[in-house]
């Protein structure tokens, strides 16, 4: 035993990792091989039988998993952008430029004590964050990220989106009611009133767009907007876009409509009594919502994954099998030569730099170059990569806008909020609908 522990103690950190990883990988590999060997046939059979179900399960899992990094990224963006607009520096201690701070926030929320107030209804109190988060994540299912890259394509996708958005209010109301706190109750009631009011202009604002498009499938809507950017629906439905954007801001409880958690009025609204990961769910749901509404705005009005102009389609597809022995040589030689080539400038010009450092630098540079080349290659060769990039870029422009609004605007009051929805947005949305319908009649599209 002592021999083992002494030997273990002499290992460096990478050594320890490798010595732990190799047996683990071996065990996993053997187990996998056994499973595939024994159960492979039936699994393949099942999968081929229920291909759509399997695809949906995988997609749903991926969506559930990517919400967390998305929320982290948007939280970090919010901290940094608001800081910059305030002439502050913002987070800059954890990780490079503070990028890991939101991860640390997540960890903090995870390890905090999670308690239930004594007067609260424990079951509903626990379920409320799940409902809120669940409704957010379920909305993501209909979002088309790129051509062919979506979880599910409904022919009533837009309707499903509105329905899931409306489900969040149930969670907020549950949280507000079950917390046994008057601030929470007020917050829950505010959120109910707000969401119910803004559902109507929100739905009406896209009605004109639906008349134009003739479909409710989000995929089809995006596909309709291909070609030059003048095909985007924002140019045919500018008023609809404005109404949709305002209403969707209210749906996502973002400033200036963040009355449900107005921190200077009702402390934190429905989330006042929450702590730990249950609060974390609310917190993440808010930022996932920001992503979703930005993405939906892009999909409906800004062409989704379409590039603003028809991109020349270049398909540089290589069949590795045709290269023969050269492939093997390339794999063996190209990294070596590339690394050496890229480290040469440092070796030659920086006399103070040791050779190994130059080579490490060269290796890093080589990786950067290769990844960049691969990215460019993927961008021009696969339209789903290009589509995803376009889609995310446009979406994050809108995320930036939401954060920007939060940095600038004060909050409206509850009666002004309701008055705005019923007195201005609703008539405007109806007007938009009638004008669109009239235009279609006249032009006869």
């Amino acid at each position: 035993m002592t021999v083992m522990s002494r030997a273990w103690g002499r290992l460096t950190l990478p050594g320890k990792v490798i010595f732990t990883a190799i047996p683990l990988l071996l065990a996993v590999g053997v187990a996998l091989a056994l499973v595939v060997g024994i159960l492979g046939g039936p699994i393949v059979e099942l999968a081929s039988q229920y291909g759509a179900v399997l695809r949906f399960l995988v997609a749903a899992t991926i969506i559930l998993v990517i919400t967390i990094p998305t929320a982290f990224l948007i939280i970090f963006m919010e901290m940094k952008i608001i800081a910059f607009m305030n002439l502050r520096v913002g987070p800059d201690r954890v990780g490079p430029w503070g990028t890991l701070l939101s991860v640390v926030h997540g960890l903090k929320v995870l390890v905090k004590e999670d308690f239930t107030p004594s007067g609260a209804d424990p079951l509903i109190f626990t379920l409320a964050p799940v409902v809120v988060y669940g409704s957010s994540v379920m909305t993501l299912v209909v979002l088309p990220f790129a051509p062919g890259l979506f979880a599910q394509d409904f022919n009533i996708g837009l309707l499903y989106f509105f329905a899931m958005g409306g489900l969040a209010v149930v969670g907020l109301l549950m949280a507000g009611w079950s917390s046994f706190n008057k601030y929470s109750l007020l917050g829950g009631l505010r959120s109910a009133a707000q969401m119910v009011s803004y559902e109507i202009p929100l739905t009406l604002s896209v009605a004109g767009l639906l008349l134009l498009a003739g479909t409710m499938s989000v995929n089809q809507l995006v596909a309709n907007q291909s070609g030059w950017f003048t095909n985007w629906y924002v140019f045919q439905q500018p008023l609809g876009f404005v109404i949709f954007f305002i209403a969707v801001t209210a749906e996502a409880n973002r400033t200036p409509f963040d009355l449900t958690e107005a921190d200077s009025e009702i402390v934190a609204g429905f989330a006042t009594e929450y702590s730990g990961m249950r609060f974390g769910f609310f917190f993440f749901a808010e930022y996932v919502n920001v992503f979703i509404v930005s993405a939906m705005t892009v999909a409906l009005f800004f062409g989704g994954w379409n590039a603003p102009f028809p991109f020349p389609a270049l398909a540089i597809l290589l069949d590795p099998g045709s290269l023969g022995i050269w492939l093997l040589l390339g794999i063996a030689i190209v990294p070596l030569v590339g690394t050496l080539l890229l480290s040469l400038p440092f070796l030659l010009t920086r006399s103070s730099m040791p050779a190994w450092q130059a080579i490490v630098l060269g290796f890093v540079l080589f990786n950067v170059v290769v990844i960049g080349l691969l990215g460019v290659w993927a961008f021009v060769s696969f339209d789903w990569v290009a589509g995803l990039l376009w889609f995310l870029a446009k979406t994050y422009v809108f995320v930036f806008t939401f954060v920007w609004m939060r940095a600038t605007l004060p909050r409206v009051r509850i009666d002004q909020l309701m008055g705005f929805a019923w007195k201005w947005l609703m008539p405007a949305a109806l007007l938009n609908l009638f004008v669109t319908a009239g235009a279609i009649l006249v032009v006869g599209r």
Binding site: I82, L259, D263, P410, I414
Partner: protein, 403 residues
């Protein structure tokens, strides 16, 4: 009485009543008003805000009687920051009391020291050198600007705008650094002395001040451009907390809040003290008397203060900054009432001397105290969110109110 097991600790059973907050006091109502307030009609509820709440500007507790979101009645509860400064001052040397004054209105400390030293100078018949008076006016107006900037920033913060407060703090930090270079401290200056000020202006102060004055107007205006025309902000403020001039006088209001109702009462002109008669400035007034008027009036006052600072710098005479005063002060028995126009209104000290070296009675009058009192007048019928607007526009400082 229902009980259930705690989720956190299964050994504990909890009384459901314990979790509830009942702001109704556990004693019979002491006054007519208390009885009226704590009689809750059907459909109304009492909501407790504070003493620790993001927008109470200190440690203030208010109990609100709500009907939905509409406020039926409101009862502010003070005393969470009460330190008995008056009693402390009655047990302290005359010099000593000045240092007790600073933490009262901690964002405009100089205006708390000023009436105290003025009252003592009256009691002792001390003539303050003119240079010292000019320095007092100069530093005081600087402090007024920083206080108003902070008030406007917090006004926006209470309405949910997070950026203006930071812009305000950038300017305020510059001023605070300036004041620190002549007073030695950033916040609780303790600069005025009986018979003058503690130390003359120095190079660091003058260079910082000149630097700041050259860009102050543009900077302040640019920063306020974020709010002044913002529709959301204007609509939240217009017509909220409206009060007319007569009621404001009955409620003993002073300062910007009174001037926003149209009464041009400013102690710098109504009862000139120091060297204000020699300075040329206007007294801005507005007639609306609502939160927006109070907010905009503070901007006008900042411009007037910048004018005063400019004149002070040009007219500053040479000479000593301290009169010759005894170290141990025993004024003759008498009474003195001294008051200054602080950023929030009339800040006054009533000092009674009995011939010893301590004040016999030391009364501190804080304007925010009276503004806060008017909640019972302004709030009924408004919405819960309007409380934050009104509170921010009245700009109370709890340190001064609770003394």
């Amino acid at each position: 009485m229902t009980t259930h097991a705690s989720m956190d600790d299964p050994r504990v059973t909890l009384d459901e009543q314990l979790g509830s907050f009942e702001p109704i006091p556990p004693y019979p109502p002491r006054t007519e008003r208390e009885q009226e307030f704590y009689t809750v009609a059907d459909g109304e509820m009492l909501v407790n805000i504070g003493p620790h709440h993001p927008s109470t500007h200190g440690v203030l507790r208010v109990v609100m009687k709500l009907d939905g979101e509409r406020v039926v009645d409101i009862d502010p509860v003070l005393g969470y920051l009460h330190r008995g400064v008056e009693k402390l001052c009655e047990n302290a040397d005359f010099h000593h009391t000045i240092s007790y004054m600073d933490p009262l209105e901690y964002v405009s400390s100089l205006f708390c020291e000023w009436p105290a030293v003025m009252a003592y100078e009256k009691l002792l018949d001390i003539k303050v050198p003119r240079r010292a008076e000019y320095i007092r006016v100069l530093t005081g107006e600087l402090n007024r600007i920083s206080s108003h900037l902070l008030a406007m920033g917090f006004h926006a913060l209470d309405l949910g705008g997070i950026t203006p407060i930071l812009y305000s703090f950038i300017e305020r930090d510059e001023m605070v650094e300036m004041l620190a270079s002549i007073t030695g401290q950033r916040m609780l200056f303790n600069y005025f002395r009986i018979g003058g000020v503690n130390g003359d202006l120095n190079h660091e102060f003058m260079s910082r001040l000149g630097d700041w004055m050259s860009r102050a107007t543009a900077q302040v205006e640019a920063n306020q451009g974020l709010l002044n025309e913002n529709e959301v902000f204007v609509r939240r403020n217009r017509g909220v907390g409206t009060i007319d001039a007569q009621t404001a006088l009955k409620m003993c209001w002073t300062g910007p809040n009174l001037r926003a109702t149209g009464v041009p009462f400013d102690i710098r002109r109504a009862h000139p003290y120091s060297v204000y008669p020699e300075l040329d400035f206007d007294i801005p007034t507005r007639s609306e008397g609502d939160s927006l008027a109070r907010y905009l009036l503070r901007i006008d006052e900042i411009k007037q203060s910048l004018r005063i600072i400019d004149q002070c710098l040009h007219q500053m005479p040479d000479g000593p900054v301290m009169a010759r005063v005894p170290r141990l002060m025993r004024p003759r028995p008498g009474r003195a009432f001294a008051t200054v126009e602080a950023p929030r209104g009339q800040y006054s000290i009533y000092a009674v001397s009995d011939g010893t070296d301590q004040p016999f009675r030391f009364r501190i009058h804080d304007p925010s105290f009276l503004h806060l009192q008017s909640f019972t007048l302004l709030m009924p019928g408004q919405l819960l969110a309007d409380w934050m607007t009104i509170n921010a526009s009245l700009d109370p400082i709890m340190g001064g109110i609770d003394k």
